[in-house]
């Protein structure tokens, strides 16, 4: 068993159009490292060069935003579900 990652439409161009991935990382930060290592096109889409997640990207672990958990240090365990979803926003 592993961590399941949901990839929404905007990021699938970087994951060979796959909408679900599996990973074995133990933290969200490690998960992003793992995903970026496998799908290099993800680099820069989810987080900047400094490692911080872009402000327009939301990451959830089991439906909880990581900001309300431990951020990038949020631990992961087998069976967890992670979703990486960009914001939908605008204005006049």
């Amino acid at each position: 068993m592993a961590v399941t990652v949901y990839i929404p439409t905007p990021f699938r161009r970087a994951t060979n159009n796959r909408d679900r991935l599996e990973a074995s990382a133990k933290t969200v930060s490690g998960l992003l490292d793992e995903l970026e290592g496998t799908f290099t096109g993800l680099k820069g889409l989810v987080r900047g060069e400094g490692g911080a997640v872009h402000h327009h990207v939301n990451i959830y672990v089991n439906s909880e935003a990581i900001e309300s958990l431990d951020g990038l240090a949020t631990p992961l365990k087998d069976g967890d579900e992670v979703a990486i979803i960009p914001a939908l926003a605008g204005g006049r």
Partner: protein, 159 residues
Amino acid sequence: MILTPEELAAIRRQASEEYPHESCGVIVTRGAERRVVRCRNAQNDLHASDPVRHPRDARTAYSIDPADLLRIGRMEGDGFSVAVIYHSHVDAGAYFSETDRRQALMGDEPLYPGAVYLVTSVMRGRVDSVAAFRWDAARGDFLPVDLAVSEPSSGRHAT
């Protein structure tokens, strides 16, 4: 067809109800199945928590609530696709603003290249017009498209 008359009516009603704040939501489709996902505009929360980073409030901007984003994401996981992304402009026209454009892009590519963006103009609480825009890959920009609502009206702008 971009949206049904019933969907257009629901979007217009929501835009009036939420005046003077911008309304927002999406329409997802799975085959012939269609669902309007009315969303909460979380822009006031962002503005209250960090007015420097988020200088606009919900009167001039929208940001779909993260809980709704997750809900939409789960629907995508169940086979739905985001077909329409809609929001309103309060006391302003139904145009695709530079802010709308910037937020709809990730780099030079659209977040949802197949989706239609719908903008509803609400003037003094009443819907004035609705316009639709879609990414044109050849032009590298969002261009107006006909709403193509079978009734009560058709054309680029429905009033």
